[in-house]
Every structure is written in C-alpha cells, then in structure tokens.
Subunit: 331 residues, 2 copies
C-alpha cells in the first residue's frame, strides 16, 4: 500500500504535530508525550480524557476541543497508550475535580487506563472510567462487558464532553456518560482491509467478492462472512441487529451515525443513510440527528459502521450542546 | 472495486435522498430533479447555487446549508448537471435578488450554467457566474481561465455563502466571490485511482510505486509523474508551486485546506499538515485557519490536495462567518 509518510516509525508524533498545527493554538502536546490537550482553560470542572491506539484517526485526537474532550492520550498504531502517557495527560487536564476517562473496551486500553488511574489516585487526582462497548458483533448481549468499542465512541464522547462542562461532580459525569454508553450500539461491515503504516501489510484478507459483517477495527473476526450484497439488504440486516440489541421500539428516538471505516465514499454512506432512515421510519423510531462521515477508521479499510444512540431527555440535552474540534463540530 | 450500492444507475438520486434524510428537515429535493436546496427561508437576498458532476462527494450537496450554498444542482457521476436541473434549482433558490452560480471550470459545467443563466434571465431572474479555477497544474498562470476547479471550491463557496447572506446586490456578491476565487490556488497528488460506480473501472492507471502531481479529479493528466516520495519533500514541492503561483509573500495571511481525495487517512493528512505549517512559517506566511478532511474527492482515489486562499480583511471577515452543512460546519 502506498502511504504519504516520512519514517513510518514517526507517524504518531508527526500526526499529532499536524493536529496541533491545524488547531491554530487551540491544542498543545503534553511535553515529551503523545498526548494532546486543549491549550486554554477548559469550560468545566470535571475534565474528560479520551484515548487509545492510533491508526483510527480522527479518533481520538480529532475530538479534543470545546464541548468535547479536554485531552487525548494516544498510543502507537493499534496499541494502547502507556500508563505514563495517560498519567501525564491526566495531570495536564485535571482542574481539581477529577478526570473522566472514556475509551474503547480493549484489554490493553483497560490495563493502561486502570494503571494510570491508580497512579493518579496516589497523587490525589480521582478518576472514573467509562469503557465503550458498542460493537454488537463482538459478544452476546449477556456479555456486553466483552464487547469492543468502535464508532459509538463518538456519541459517548459527545455526551461526556457536554456533561463534563457542567457536571457538579465526577460521579455525576460518569453516571450520565455511562448512560450514553449503555444506550449506544454499533455494527460494522468490512469490504477490504486497511494496512499497517509500519509494515504496509493489510490487517486481514477478504476475497474480491466477499464482505464481513462485524469485523473489528483491527481485523477481529466478525459474525458473518458472505458475498457482497446490494446496499439496501445489507443495511436492513445490519440495522436490524442493532435495533434488536438496543431493544429500540416504536416511539423511541435515536441519533444515527453512518461512519466510513476509511475509504468508503460519501456517495455510498448517503445511500446507506437513505435506507437506514427508511427502515427506522417504518419501525416508528424517530431520528433526532444524523451524522455522516469519517470518524472512527481503520486506516484505508473499505466499509462502514452504523451506530444508534437511544435518547432520553437528559441525553438529548447533552447531545444537542455545541461542540467544536478538528473532526467534529456541532453548531 | 467493491462498492456499497444498489443499482449503479441510481447512485445520484439515492445519495441525494440520503443527504436530505440526514439533514433532518433542513434540505429538500427540487421535485423531479437531482438538485437539493435548503428547505426553509435562506438568510440572504442574493441566493447561492453551486453544482457540478457527482462522484466528488461531499462536494457539492454537502455544502448546502446556513452560511453556505442555498442549493446544489447535481449531475450524474463526472457529468455536468443539465441546464434544466440548474434552471429549476435557480427558480427554487431565487428570492428576488438574483442567483450567484459558483462551480468548477469545466467545459460541460460552463455550458450548462451559461445555458441555464440565459433561460433564467428570460424569466426575469438575473444570474452571475463565478468559475473556480484553482488547480495550478492544469494551465500556466497566463491562462488561468483554462484551469480546472478542484478542492478550492470549498473556500470560494465558504466566502460566497457568507457574502450572499448579506450582499446588497448580485453584482457585489459576484465581485467578492471572484476575489476569493482569484486568491485561491490548489494542487493535488494521486497515489491510486478511484473507480467509476457504474463500471467498477479505475479512472486511470498508476504503477505500484508511482505518484502523479497535478492529476485531475477525473484522471486528467498532471504535471509530473514520478516515484513515491517521503511526505516532507512531496509537500515542499507541492506547496512551493502553490506559493509561487499565488505570489504569496512574507507577511501574507492564508487559509490552508488539506483535502483527502478519497482514501487517504487523517494520519497522512496530518503529517502533510505538519510540514505545510513548517514551510509556511519558514516563509513568514501566517496561517489564519486550517481545514483537514474529505471535501472534494474522486471516489476512493488515494492522494490529497493542498489549497491556499490568501486573505485580505474583507475576505477574512466573510471566511470567519459561521456556517453549517452536512460536510462543513464553522462555529
């Protein structure tokens, strides 16, 4: 695979340099680390720190900004950030009321954020963790804690950012952010693999006419491999699994995210959006907001994911709050 | 190439259906056409209509919204919209003060918009055209009117949208929008071709280790084909050509767009952004704003383009105005 890189070992620090440059003074690096934080004073008391492996850009650094995260601790490509990076980012974002961690539920990330949280506690900085586990393909409903976090991160970060800006306490911020997490479900489909920058090798193999539903962001096995289908039946299959898992019912209201995994065109995403809206309308489920674009990717993977977040009045109010970052702006 | 489609002949109307669905009531189709317009009353007197061939999503439909375009007339993939579609969109967006057309400088688009403008004039709707010709690779500086329009469309549309919202007259809106156009230069590089949805065929061929600087959005010949290089010297070469053509000098202020042509990752775009900022800083050229993402694509083409718009106080004020659409939001 051809990529526009310098030394492949430098992709993470160089990309973070670029993110800071693009921010026009709104972001800064935590010295000597691969963590990026807001440059000015944040608006809230409780701080929000997100993070995880790199390679899924614009996740996570693209969501640091007003009404969103105060910082992002970034690991190497497809590798959890080290506890030390998370700890330094924790110190940098803390405003005295503690730090909420929101990250995808992967064993490496869990270990790193837990370790950093213990180190932060020893310094008097309380933390709470919200592990995002939105991928319905990765474990059955009775084992949600074994599920992976994928594009649903965006909705949980959106709500958590709005909550942290006004929350009275870390516990309150964690409670509402967990509610957003528990109301969020996603499912992806891969048509072709992305490649790892350091090796140029694809993360998995799919035949020329094959797709895999539920394929993870790093090539983890999905729930169903089959022939490429037309968009409409594919969306019907995928959305049906999400709606069932979420137990979304007539009269419910949801936010919809149609996320490109890397090289799927807006044209295709919009064709998917069209069908998703028709299916939701037929089911009597109202769509409060629709987000279309590249938010959580796996390098140049071809494919997309669908995410629903079921709203209640509390979640809706936080969801609707304005936000501004490199990759997501809500006016 | 695998794509997520239904009948490939329906990609344009289906994608527009999806765009309207995603807008949550903010957009509507002009009945029986492939034109999309704002559903409510726009804010301005002069209306802004953009358009061109489909296949470059989110251009053009993704830029219809508050502070941006009032409508977009969309052709089939890589095909100019028919004059009839443009005329119907013109009628739909006109508020009695005329309609400004902004579109890329391609012979088919020029013919269609000119024909539609004549038909509109016959109905008493005055129009003015601003043809975007930002691609420095496509003709020498003494023949700018032969240059193609590429990602610089975004900056011209951004300024034109802000201008139309407050302009006293169509002539004034056209004057300032032309100034934005004349201050904008772009250059792209392709690493791999995108494919046409109806045929599945790539639009051109590049060897596994080849790149082409200045390649057009439809595979038009560029200015220099060579071996894949590291990001930094590639950006230096490309940005140098843009800065020279724009005659940007120490003390000037610019906006920078780093645009993905389809399947280039944010990680790569940020590495490009980093180098572009360093080069501009070295040249004493201030960057007022930086935009990174997928705005003007050629299906899943791998590659990126760089765009600079040189600001003066008038352009800066319009550039800074808030805007909101499916693909571009400025808060």
């Amino acid at each position: 695979m051809k990529k526009i890189l310098n030394d492949p070992r430098d992709v993470v620090p160089e990309a973070l340099d670029g993110l800071v440059a693009a921010s026009q003074g709104r972001l800064r690096l935590v010295d000597g680390t691969t963590a990026v934080v807001r440059a000015g004073e944040g608006g809230g008391n409780v701080a929000l720190l997100i993070g995880g492996g790199s390679g899924h850009e614009p996740l996570f650094g693209g969501f640091v900004g007003e009404g969103l995260a105060d910082g992002a601790a970034c690991g190497n490509v497809f590798t959890a950030p080290a506890p030390g990076v998370i700890l330094e980012a924790t110190r940098a974002v803390d405003r005295g009321e503690g730090v909420l961690y929101v990250y995808g539920n992967y064993s490496g990330d869990n270990l790193s954020f837990d370790a950093a949280g213990e180190l932060a506690a020893a310094e008097g900085i309380p933390t709470e963790s919200v592990r995002v586990w939105d991928d319905v393909a990765s474990a059955p409903p009775d084992r949600v804690e074994d599920r992976r976090g994928i594009a649903g991160d965006l909705f949980v970060i959106k709500v958590a950012g709005a909550v942290c800006a006004v929350a009275e306490s870390l516990a309150e911020a964690a409670r509402i952010s967990r509610k957003a997490r528990d109301a969020t479900r996603s499912l992806g489909v891969a048509l072709a693999a992305g490649s790892i920058p350091e090796t140029g090798q694809p993360t998995f193999e799919l035949a020329a006419d094959e797709i895999e539903i539920g394929m993870g962001l790093h090539g983890e096995k999905g729930v169903s491999r089959g022939k490429l289908r037309a968009a409409d039946p594919l969306v019907e299959d995928m959305l049906g699994r999400i709606v069932d898992d979420l137990a979304a019912r007539r009269g419910d209201e949801v936010c919809l995210l149609v996320n490109d995994l890397g090289s799927t065109t807006w044209m295709e995403l919009l064709i998917v959006t069209r069908k998703a809206h028709r299916l939701l309308a037929d089911a009597g489920i109202a769509v409060h907001d629709t987000v279309v674009g590249s938010f959580c990717t796996c390098q140049e993977m071809a494919g997309f994911s669908l995410t629903l977040m079921k709203l209640d009045p509390e979640l809706q109010a936080y969801y609707d709050a304005p936000a501004r970052s490199a990759a997501y702006t809500k006016a």
